[in-house]
Symmetry: C2
């Protein structure tokens, strides 16, 4: 009855994800997306509505990609050691050739301003809270810990991994490793 799409939506979102990851939300323009996704602006808008729509799909694609390591953390029962492993897994996951792209989500959290799109804010916070909850769960595997202590330590760890997402663009691998080691001395 009608023409078929000449692209696969999942495939082009994969490409968009890489672009947002490297550049952040605001700095990624529709023209850049057009080039990277290999489809016309019309197709972008007809498939995903608007730039925000592409980004929300990209967050989902990102979640799928990172699932391996979050799942590993979810299933871990090594407490603090499991979280530390997550930090290392994350750095490896985020490495791109010789530079480090950080985390798509934390990169975008770093863009937060007064006028940041509330829909995107909500999606970011949702993801961040999922990670924080994984930290809490793993911390509570040490049964001497109260929930209050675990919550505070989880905030501390979130703070460190937010920092790491920025630091990873400035520091080299051995410095990053050393930062992670010191980070886990404190909990």
């Amino acid at each position: 009855m009608a023409r078929k799409k000449q692209y696969n939506e999942e495939e082009v979102i994969e490409k968009a994800t890489g672009l947002f990851w490297r550049n952040g939300y605001e700095a990624t323009t529709v023209r850049m997306l057009e080039k990277e996704m290999g489809i016309n602006q019309f197709s972008i808008y007809s498939s995903f509505g608007n730039k925000q729509g592409v980004f929300l799909e990209s967050i989902n694609a990102y979640k799928k990609r990172i699932y391996d390591i979050t799942d590993k953390l979810a299933k871990s029962n090594n407490g603090k050691a499991g979280i530390k492993q997550y930090f290392y897994d994350f750095l490896e996951f985020a490495r791109d050739e010789d530079m480090n792209k950080g985390c798509l989500v934390t990169n975008t959290v770093n863009e937060i301003r007064d006028d940041t799109d509330p829909v995107i804010m909500e999606e970011l916070m949702k993801f961040a809270n999922e990670i924080k909850q994984l930290f809490i769960d793993n911390l509570l595997q040490d049964e001497s810990k109260t929930e209050e202590i675990a919550d505070g330590q989880a905030n501390y760890l979130m703070n460190c991994i937010l920092g790491l997402s920025v630091s990873s663009k400035v520091y080299d691998q051995s410095q990053l490793n050393s930062i992670i080691e010191i980070t886990f001395l404190n909990i």
Copy 2:
């Protein structure tokens, strides 16, 4: 022989500083600067050359403002306790009514992308290294520490304060205090 400026350059830069602080470099437009500084675009460009010029002057103004607490750290001889005090001083310095603006410099470091203006990058790195050096100096007041250990711990602290600059926009005061306490448990 000619007309006098109807504004004071220092005063208008003070105003620009606040704007960059709240919004970051990229998101601050010349129209916003015009409004906030209370002078016409012509005057902005004739006094400071371009947007980057306004920003570089703003970093200087920011350095002057933060001088009180960096100087306190420079003169401190309480080692780790002095740095911790710096973290608390910094949070107070960055507080704006009930929200937190973070640090002008770390906010801008968070904007780092491949195409970030190299002149600005250099200025930011210079400031960051000054702070890191203060951390090292204070850490070395504990004479049992090697320079290598101090350098690693300083990287760790820079990572935490980078994170704090973002976290401070999301977490409340008591959570931030708790993050700082944990940060300093084991160095």
